[in-house]
Amino acid sequence: MDLYEYQGKELFRRFGIAVSEGRLVTSPEEARTAAQELGGQVVVKAQVLTGGRGKAGGIKLAEGPEDAEQHARDILGLDIRGHVVRKLWIEAASEIEREYYLSLTFDRGEKKALFMFTKEGGVDIEEVAAERPEALAKLHVDPLEGFQAYQARRLIYGAGIEDEGEQKQIAKLAARLYTAFVECDAMLCEVNPLIVTPSGEVKALDSKFTVDDNALYKHPDIAEMRDLDAYPPEERAAREKDVTYVKLDGEVGVLGNGAGLVMSTLDVVALAGGQPANFCDLGGGGDAEGVVDALEIISADPQVKSILFNIFGGITRCDEVARGILQALERLTIEEPIVVRLDGTNAEEGRALLKEAAPPNLHVEPTMLDAARRAVELAP
């Protein structure tokens, strides 16, 4: 789960990482009030779960309340890479002497947390890594050993920080960032830029914070930060019904059992010349009720022109899936043609059930490839 800048900063503050004071607002009027309260120059920052806000005009410096209100008016409603701006973070403006980059990522390859730190902040880190690797200090932290002071030193010396005051602040900040990373079950904590003010204060000017969905049950306060408005309506509905669903851009709705099989089905649909409309995994169990829920969500997507069921029964029983399809057709109004491929546990029983009920617009195919081709054909 990705957090907004203001949420990440709230967590930063909780762990003792310096951030600027600010207010969350949703209207130009509130932006004005916030700027008044904060005093002086403020920055009006669009809160969206995507990068590139600055270039898209989502971040503006305001001289005072009036200016802030005007900027808020301009930025609210803006579409940044498909994300509509609904919230703004009004923050006291900082004087910036230098901009660094500091991040902690979950390195699944090394099975350790990975620190990255460079004096070249405010820019794309992958670019620095590719073009000037010597400017980028990288360091793994073993989860059993935990963060040790030497790691901070390696980052600091590695990146070439020479000022002692900065060294001390950055060492402390890195330790706190690690604590935040572990205690919040984060997959990413990025501070870009990490700034040094003219008076030598080091603070986090931005935040990118991603938390492991599987660990949210341990962090009800973070789980509550989820903003359902940030997701496509189909994904919101899926979340409510506990269906594993990802919205895509095509016209063939896809359902299957097991993440790998569904991904494979999407690929096969594409190879057959179609475009998958979604990823939807019935999961291990896959009872009739789950099938109905999933079909409801998939068919609610107006882009969907045909629906493909690809079931390879293991734990999932094909007769149960067939029952779910028939129930869904009774209860819901589904006009798109449905193509079904059933194999594995109780596949014959399942196919027999479908054949007996023989609903219109339902096509049974023998193999995954055949089914995908048929579904693509039926989605004009």
């Binding site: 699944r108 097991g258 734990i315 194999d343 995954m368």
Partner: protein, 281 residues
Amino acid sequence: MVQGLTGREGSFHGVRNRDYGTQVVAGVTPGKGGQEVEGIPIFDTVAEAVAEAGANTTMVFVPARFATDAVYEGIDAGVHTVICIAEGLPAHEMLRVYNYIRPKGVTMLGPNCPGALSPGKANVGIIPAEIFREGSVGLVSRSGTLTYQIGHELTQLGLGNSTIVGIGGDPVVGSSFIDVLTEFEADDETEIVVMVGEIGGAEEEKAAAFIQAEMSKPVVAYIAGFTAPPGKTMGHAGAIISGTSGTAQAKKEALEACGVRVGTTPTEVAQLAAEVAGVRN
């Protein structure tokens, strides 16, 4: 031993594994010590199951939030092989488990894996054995049902399997492709290997280099997720393209650069395997 044998899934698969021929000597469910599940004795703790029933391998079937504890309990009681079927474990917990068990030489499959099956010999996990037949193809995969699909296609082409291993779909799992490929390379019953990867991480890329450098047996591969968008978790916690890394295309290219042929559909990878098997037979 099965941790969580008294649960719905645990009892179904535990008993099925036992009936397939696997020696399932004990179940563990705290508070239910002294009970039985179809003749398999239940203990309160893994330590008792080890001491009294002689268990040396554990299959973990408990809900995600108890799974890490169950794994530690198994390892600390002296179990050397852990098959973690449970899914949904927090990634940081698994990070600690991995770094804890790895230097101790404990073998772990999963979490979020279907287990391992040697057709005709033993089945530990949830792989439906009836799809597979005995043979010489080693199959290793990050995914469950996709493995069944490919196994099914192999069977239809007349190919059987030596062993099928699901390593699990989470970002951090106990065994990598390389670990299993190493076993297959050393296994007399395996002649060819089919590797089934998917988006996310770089284990397929590492495996590619390993295959080129270390393996004498032919390997063919399949990768799922060419159509997956970046930044979205595709069902498996581990199946996510982060930024520009972990794409199916990059994995395919890495494998092909190391001389590993990659099928674009389950059907095609099975055909590639059959072709290689034909050449060798």
